[in-house]
């Protein structure tokens, strides 16, 4: 399953972005269940394994992450994920786009009233 370069620099979806960030945070311990746990811990909401799994799959198909199979001592074979350079570029672009959007946005007054 060779990485497919996305035709455009379309920004990542929110959940895709979250999953990629969780993969980065887990370092070389990033597999489906640990990514789900990390997301649950940080976002403080329940996340179904299926949606994580499908998102990881899709990101890999887009070439934004890559996976390797690793045989551990405890005999459970795991599929470990790492973010590719392409993925890093995409994350950075998404963040830059968001930052541009945030420029000049003033929320403090609205939050005070809330």
């Amino acid at each position: 399953m060779k990485a497919r370069v996305p035709a455009d620099d379309s920004p990542l979806g929110t959940f895709e972005e979250q999953v990629m960030l969780a993969v980065l945070r887990k370092g070389n311990e990033a597999y489906a269940t640990s990514v789900r746990r990390e997301l649950e811990k940080v976002t403080a909401r329940s996340i179904a394994i299926g949606s994580v799994y499908v998102t990881l799959d899709r990101l890999e198909a887009k070439g934004l992450i890559a996976s390797t199979r690793e045989q551990r001592d405890d005999s459970i074979s795991r599929r470990l994920f790492v973010v590719t350079a392409e993925g890093a570029r995409s994350l950075a672009a998404t963040r830059a786009m968001r930052d541009r959007l945030w420029e000049g946005v003033e929320l403090r007054r609205l939050l005070k009233n809330a």
Binding site: M1, Y31, A32, T33, R37, S46, I47, A48, I49, G50, S51, Y53, V54, D57, I76, S77, R78, R79
Partner: protein
């Protein structure tokens, strides 16, 4: 500590990709255990439930589009070019090749299914429109028709009208066919009803637009109102502005007040106009029927009220004992009254269609079974090579689907064509406006027949070759039939013969019944007589009408090849009607009774060859100014002059002074054919003051071969030479006969078509099964003959088997006929349900088919050279 519930594990296992499912499930399981330990069972279960349920949508979507392995998308199986599609395509192609090679089998199966389903759908659609649709009458259970229909006078109705207890409203009506004159178009005769003002209140129907009749429409001197049927309104141009306009009906201007909705009919579907008629106490004649809407109870629960009405009548009118109207008062439900006589005939046709469908099922099953038997080697071999059962079934299903699709196309054409044909052939009138072809029934019948055939044929054979693969392959190698005795095939043949016997014998009974009807002596010679129905304009006086009739006679007599020309107000076999009161001087007991009364011209009796038994017929010296004379028939003589010579006695019809009887003639069927001889009397137009506005001319040809030419000549002459006579229709006396025998004959025609169909289908099935049975044993016979068995023995063995099956089937069919025929005995005229001729005929025909179907393949088998057969393997 237990792991996660097995259902959750099963769900995840089904949906997660093969490569990772163990890993993910193990992780989830570990977390489930941990949660259960720390937070309790309920919380862990809720978490797991969320994990599974929340994962389903995304995992299902992913599985569908990418597959378990990522290489084999599940969705592709259903996409064009996908594996599933590919196997179906492959099987369909294979089936198509097989079917084109076995053309007879394919054609038989397709035609059988198409005829069965298409025919059933067409007939059922007609039957539904006629029998099953609600009558166009509101709350029909409360509507009923009084006893002695068409025997009520205006005086009786007007007397009863204000004192009918238990009824909301009661209307009087009688058939009145009227002429319709529209500018620029020829005069035409339309079926109509003359009624009192209450008719549409009693029926509870309102017009599509305009109004119904109102009180006051039926008083003497009031304006005449007319309501048109939807069909007539369309014929007149579908103009809503017609309401309020005047229409010349029967020469009298009527105001159109309304138009009935599409599909409305009463009392017959052919009725096209309803008019009010002025009612008068003075009028003791007028043959009305009374239809009433009860004030609540169903029409068949009105016995007490009807008895009361009978007593009221008896208190006012004196009835002679033989015509006592107060004796059996009753109210007949309107549905039973209007449709009663149609029901058994149509039910018989419906049953016949069911039988046809059953034959079709059995037939296709037998054909499929034969095919499967021949393919057991192939199927067993494919199983042995690893074909899954699913794939084998798919192959058989695809073949049935191909047959079904082709039969669907052919059957749809048969259904549509048959339906249109039946609509045209049957006199449905307004009923036809509502009839639509029932496609859902067609597809249901098609699917049912196909599914039933597959159930019968495929299931047992599947069981056979799957349980005994080795045996199947072994017997195949030796080419023998093995242990299977063909019991199923035998049962199918017997069942098929039973169904065919049922249908053919039923049709036979009906055909015999119609033949009996025809055999009744009508008293007239119908051969070579032209019948021309004419109308006289209603504005002419009686004398002008009489002159118009008299003027037409010599013109017709001039035509070449004419034997005799006559005219009458009503022909025999056209039902009762024109019954006029009779009084015999010195015989007060026959004061208020009627007999059939026919005004005729001099040569009328001669033209119809009604024989003079005593005295004389009319002669030229009986003219306008001579003594008024009458000719009576034998039935009248026997009824009123039982022990004396009627010649010279007098009868009084009410024309001053009465008339003298000059002759007695043979009985002609002056009512329905089945009514037998009714008393009737004949008088000359010259001696009867009132002249009816309808007249029927009869032109008898010298030779029957001249009839078509004479028909054309008569038409030309009548259209050219007569100004005061409008030609309505022309026919031959033979077709008047046909009309009189009509209803049972139509049913018999339909049934004989169906019986013919059943015969063909049955023969095909029987032939197919028996010949297949024999051809599979050809090798056995070859061996037997090689060992010295006489070819004759082979033939006799096979034929005996066919005969045994035929006898069993016929016995079953005969039992069914005898039970079923009692149900339809009203259709049978002087034929017993167990009529030996019809039943024996059916059995003989089918036994002959069974024997022939056995003989031909057996004879072929006996002629085969044993060495050829043995070499074939």
């Amino acid at each position: 500590m237990t792991g996660m519930p097995s259902f959750a594990a099963w769900c995840l296992r089904r949906l997660l990709p093969y490569a990772e499912r163990d890993e993910v499930i193990a992780d989830l399981d570990a977390e489930y255990r941990a949660r259960r330990r720390t937070r309790g069972w309920l919380s862990a279960a809720a978490w797991l439930g969320y994990q599974v349920a929340g994962s389903l949508p995304s995992l299902v979507t992913r599985t569908a589009w990418r597959g378990w392995t990522g290489f084999e998308p599940e969705a592709n199986r259903w996409q064009p070019g996908g594996p599933m599609f590919e196997t179906w395509l492959m099987d369909l192609r294979y089936s198509a090749r097989r079917l084109t090679r076995r053309r007879t089998y394919a054609l038989m199966a397709i035609l059988t299914l198409a005829l069965g389903a298409g025919g059933t759908a067409a007939i059922y659609s007609i039957v539904r429109a006629v029998l099953l649709e609600p009558l166009p009458i509101r709350d029909e259970a409360a509507v009923g028709v009084f006893w002695s229909p068409f025997d009520w006078t205006e005086e009786e109705f007007l007397f009863l009208r204000p004192q009918l207890t238990g009824f909301e409203t009661v209307a009087a009506y009688r058939p009145q066919d009227v002429t319709l004159e529209t500018p620029g178009e020829p005069l035409r005769l339309i079926r109509g009803i003359a009624s009192s003002a209450e008719l549409f209140d009693a029926l509870g129907t309102t017009p599509l637009f305009g109004r119904g009749f109102q009180p006051g429409d039926d008083v003497v001197g009031g304006e005449r109102a007319a309501i048109l049927s939807y069909g007539l309104w369309q014929d007149l141009g579908s103009d809503r502005g017609i309401v309020g306009r005047q229409l010349a009906l029967g020469g009298t201007p009527h105001t159109v007040v309304g138009v009935m909705p599409r599909g409305f009919w009463f009392p017959t579907p052919e009725t096209r106009v309803w008019v009010t008629t002025p009612l008068s106490f003075e009028r003791r004649s007028g043959q009305y029927a009374l239809v009433g809407r009860t004030s609540g109870p169903a029409a068949d629960q009105m016995d007490a009220q009807m008895r009361g009405i009978g007593q009221t009548l008896g208190g006012r009118f004196q009835y002679p004992p033989q015509w006592d109207k107060t004796r059996s008062p009753a109210l007949t439900g309107v549905r039973e009254y209007l449709l009663g006589d149609l029901r058994p005939g149509l039910l018989a046709v419906l049953v016949a269609m069911g039988v046809i469908l059953a034959i079709a099922c059995v037939n296709v099953a037998a054909l499929m079974l034969g095919q499967l038997g021949g393919r057991s080697t192939e199927l067993a071999l494919r199983t042995a090579l690893g074909a899954a059962r699913q794939r084998l079934v798919q192959q058989l299903v695809s073949e049935s689907l191909l047959i079904g699709a082709a039969a669907g196309l052919v059957g749809a054409a048969i259904a549509a064509g048959g339906f249109t044909m039946l609509l045209r052939l049957l006199p449905l009138g307004a009923l036809g406006e509502r009839a639509t072809l029932d496609w859902s029934l067609f597809w249901a019948a098609m699917a049912f027949a196909l599914a039933a055939a597959m159930m019968i044929a495929v299931v047992p054979s599947m069981a056979m070759w799957r349980t005994n693969l080795q045996g199947t392959l072994a017997t195949t190698r030796t080419g023998g039939v093995g242990a299977r005795g063909g019991r199923l095939e035998g049962a199918l043949v017997a069942g098929q013969i039973a169904l065919a016997v049922l249908l053919v014998a039923g049709a036979g009974l009906l055909i015999r019944s119609v033949a009996n009807l025809r055999a009744i002596d009508a008293g007239v010679d119908p051969r070579g007589v032209v019948v021309a129905d004419m109308t006289l304009p209603t504005h002419l006086s009686n004398d002008q009408r009489r002159a118009a009739i008299a003027a037409a006679i010599p013109v017709l007599e001039q035509l070449p090849g004419v034997r005799a020309v006559g005219a009458t107000i009503k022909l025999p076999l056209r039902g009762s009607g024109q019954n006029w009161g009779i009084r015999i001087p010195g015989r007060p007991e026959v004061s208020s009774t009627t007999t059939a009364f026919r005004t005729v011209t001099h040569e009328y009796l001669d033209a119809l060859r009604i024989p003079v038994r005593r005295g004389r017929g009319f002669v030229a010296s009986d003219h306008e100014n001579s003594e008024r004379v009458v000719v009576i028939n034998e039935a009248l003589a026997a009824k009123y002059f039982p022990d004396e010579d009627p010649i010279g006695r007098r009868i009084d019809t009410g024309f001053d002074g009465g008339e003298r009887i000059i002759g007695v003639v043979g009985n002609a069927a002056e009512a329905q054919l089945t009514d037998g001889a009714v008393p009737a009397r004949y008088m000359l137009y010259e001696h009867v003051p009132p002249v009816w506005h309808e007249v029927t001319f009869v032109v008898a040809a010298e030779r029957a071969e001249d009839l078509p030419r004479l028909l054309d000549l008569t038409r030309t002459v009548l259209q050219q030479n007569t100004r005061n006579l409008a030609l309505q229709r022309m026919m031959t006396l033979d077709s008047v006969f046909d009309l009189a025998v009509g209803a049972p004959q139509r049913v018999a025609t339909l049934l004989s078509v169906l019986a013919g169909l059943a015969l063909v289908l049955g023969a095909v099935g029987v032939y197919g099964v028996i010949s297949h049975f024999v051809s599979r044993r050809t090798r056995d016979y070859g061996i037997c003959m090689a060992l010295g068995l006489a070819p004759r023995r082979v033939v006799s063995e096979v034929v005996a088997r066919g005969l045994v099956l035929g006898v069993i089937g016929s016995a079953l069919g005969l039992i069914a006929v005898v039970f079923g025929a009692n149900r339809f005995s009203t259709l049978l005229h002087e034929v017993q349900p167990a009529d030996t001729q019809a039943l024996l005929g059916a059995v003989l025909i089918l036994l002959t088919i069974a024997v022939t179907a056995s003989f031909i393949p057996a004879w072929r088998a006996s002629r085969t050279d044993p060495s050829t057969v043995l070499r074939q393997q």
